[in-house]
């Protein structure tokens, strides 16, 4: 603080506290609503004193939306995307930064462009690809005449088909296919001193050795930050899981929220809906609270 400004300080506290309430109130209201029974939750105005049915509602929401397996699916998807991103982006960034080969800048730009077009705007054709993930290759072989050639020679008609709908692979793969992590690693690799590379090479380390034994251990902070961000991002995905999990067994917790919206006709079971919301909100909230440092760092670093 530079000078004494008692009046301004007072307003600073008032406004910040208002902001605090604005951020926390929805969480508190959800938690309180989740503890009421059907009558109390629909009272106008709803009582802000917690009711006594919290665990009953949590249990009902858990069984209604079948949240156990759904949370497991969410977890597999989020962990898969986070791990995939952390590994694949590191490999690509290593290739772009530490090698000189023809077409390197082309690869750089091919990856950079993926930042421009989020999955949401190309959901329809991506869905078609995931329904048969080998269809691009089939089409290429048909056009180039390779499949015709194979059919002539071996008499086998080429028809590649591998459906990924309702599978973890189908959930995870398209979410990894963006550039976010690659640039985080690239920025970091560029700051690693050249002397380190020289020393490693002088000691006879090859590219792979240098990557695994020196570069990856140095990138631990970046991995934590990227992993946290990607875990949350994947956990919170909605459109994609909604589309490709036509079968309930692979639905995620976030898509299951739709089952909990009170229907118009019957008694509005807001207490159950809020209990379900609370369960779905909790895992990402815990990650944010525990991993705050990495979360903030990752957010600021990945977007630059």
């Amino acid at each position: 603080m530079v000078e004494r400004t008692p009046i301004l300080n007072f307003f600073t506290h008032v406004i910040l506290f208002a902001g605090f309430v604005f951020c926390v109130a929805p969480f508190v209201i959800v938690a309180i609503a989740a503890s009421h029974n059907l009558k109390d939750v629909n009272d106008v105005p709803m009582s802000l004193l917690p009711g006594s049915d919290f665990w009953v509602n949590i249990k009902t929401a858990w069984t209604t939306a079948d949240l156990g397996p759904k949370l497991f699916n969410s977890f597999v998807m989020a962990a898969g995307v986070a791990a995939g991103k952390v590994i694949i982006s590191a490999l690509t960034a290593f290739s772009i930064v530490y090698f000189r080969y023809p077409g390197r800048m082309l690869i750089f730009w091919l990856i950079f462009v993926t930042l421009m077009l989020p999955l949401e705007v190309r959901i329809v054709p991506t869905y078609a690809v995931v329904a048969n993930v080998l269809s691009p290759y089939q089409a290429i072989m048909d056009v180039t005449g390779i499949s015709w050639l194979i059919e002539k020679i071996s008499g086998v008609q080429v028809s590649l088909s591998l459906g990924l709908l309702n599978s973890y692979t189908g959930l995870i793969m398209p979410l990894i296919a963006t550039a976010t992590g690659t640039f985080l690693y690239r920025q970091f690799f560029l700051t690693v001193p050249d002397e380190l590379t020289e020393a490693a090479r002088m000691d006879g380390a090859g590219a792979l050795r240098f990557f695994v034994d020196i570069l990856l251990p140095l990138s631990r902070n970046n991995m934590a930050a990227l992993g946290t961000i990607m875990f949350l991002w994947a956990w919170n995905q909605y459109v994609w899981p909604l589309l490709i999990t036509t079968d309930q067994s692979h639905a995620t917790a976030v898509t299951e929220l739709k089952q909990l919206i009170p229907n118009v006709g019957g008694a509005p079971e807001w207490h159950i809906a809020m209990a379900g919301t609370l369960i779905v909100m909790l895992p990402p909230l815990i990650v944010v609270v525990l991993m705050q440092r990495w979360f903030v760092r990752g957010l600021i670093a990945t977007e630059k």
């Binding site: 926390v24 929805p26 105005p45 080969y101 590219a207 909100m281 957010l299």
Partner: protein
């Protein structure tokens, strides 16, 4: 920036990039190309033939009043929610940066909303803003018929905006605070010595120095308002009432997967893609001129 020391065998180098390249080819470039192709043909929803129709899909979309309505709704949503989320976040970040007692607490808590999934917070706000239970019900009791997002399009739009802004205030806050804290303390102290007050210092020193962040957040917020709004709209209003909140991404989804109009949905995707690219270029060209870069 380039590395001076590199590894010789570039064949190995390319191998490192192969997994990523296969992924983005299969799940990015192929579908994006497919979208362009579909937008120029008439696709059969169940596979089979397709007919080349040139720009007919675009013509029929652009002649459709529903589509223009969707564009207007998306732009309204983008403008208001971006404005709200950024102004609130900037005020909170500037005040937190004054580092009075308790500022550590705000730094921790204000980013919580950003961790929450859009559909989850949408369901929470659907309850909080429900006209018959929750908090707006109390207002309705006092003033009957004041609030009904189920029937009134403006109310529905307001609910969606509130839910989205709530999430993005936290996001913007992190970036603003980081930018403010990067300003050297000595600058502020020197200005204070010269007798300028807190508000004067904000407009003359802090605000000009964080313009790159403001500019960056503007782009991100607008693009996110096109994408991240899907879950909120789907849970809170399902595009209703009377298409008042039928934002562009939601319309692509409902036309493509409910209406099974793949060609129409693909053409809409292309227009949305162009719109996002155009917005980015406009912002770079016109806003960047007034931005101070260090």
């Amino acid at each position: 920036m380039e590395k001076r020391v590199t590894f010789g065998k570039w064949t190995i180098g390319i191998l490192f990039a192969v997994p990523q390249l296969i992924l983005i080819f299969t799940f990015f470039y192929w579908p994006a190309g497919q979208a362009v192709y579909w937008s120029l043909t008439l696709q059969q929803p169940w596979g089979g033939g397709n007919i080349w129709v040139g720009l007919d899909n675009f013509r029929s979309i652009l002649a459709n009043a529903d589509y223009w309505n969707s564009i207007t709704a998306s732009l309204t949503f983008a403008a208001i929610s971006t404005g709200l989320a950024m102004v609130i976040a900037l005020v909170l970040a500037t005040l937190t940066d004054r580092q009075l007692a308790g500022s550590r607490l705000y730094r921790v808590v204000l980013i919580w909303p950003y961790g929450i999934a859009a559909p989850a917070l949408a369901l929470a706000f659907r309850f909080i803003l429900a006209p018959e239970a929750g908090f707006m019900a109390a207002v309705n009791k006092f003033w009957p018929g004041f609030w009904d997002p189920g029937l009134n399009g403006a109310d529905a739009m307001a609910s969606v905006i509130v839910a989205f802004s709530w999430k993005y205030v936290g996001y913007n806050f992190i970036f603003f605070l980081a930018a403010l804290q990067a300003i050297p303390r000595s600058l502020i102290e020197a200005a204070a010595m010269d007798g300028s007050g807190v508000i004067r210092r904000f407009w003359d020193i802090q605000f000009p120095l964080i313009t790159p962040t403001i500019f960056f957040l503007l782009v991100i917020n607008i693009t996110e308002s096109f994408q991240d709004s899907f879950g909120i709209v789907d849970i809170m209003t399902a595009g209703g009432p009377a298409n008042a909140t039928n934002l562009m991404v939601y319309k692509i989804y409902s036309d493509g997967f409910r209406g099974l109009d793949y060609s129409g949905a693909a053409a809409q995707s292309i227009i949305l893609m162009l719109l996002i690219i155009l917005l980015t270029i406009v912002q770079f060209r016109f806003i960047e001129r007034r931005v101070h870069y260090r």
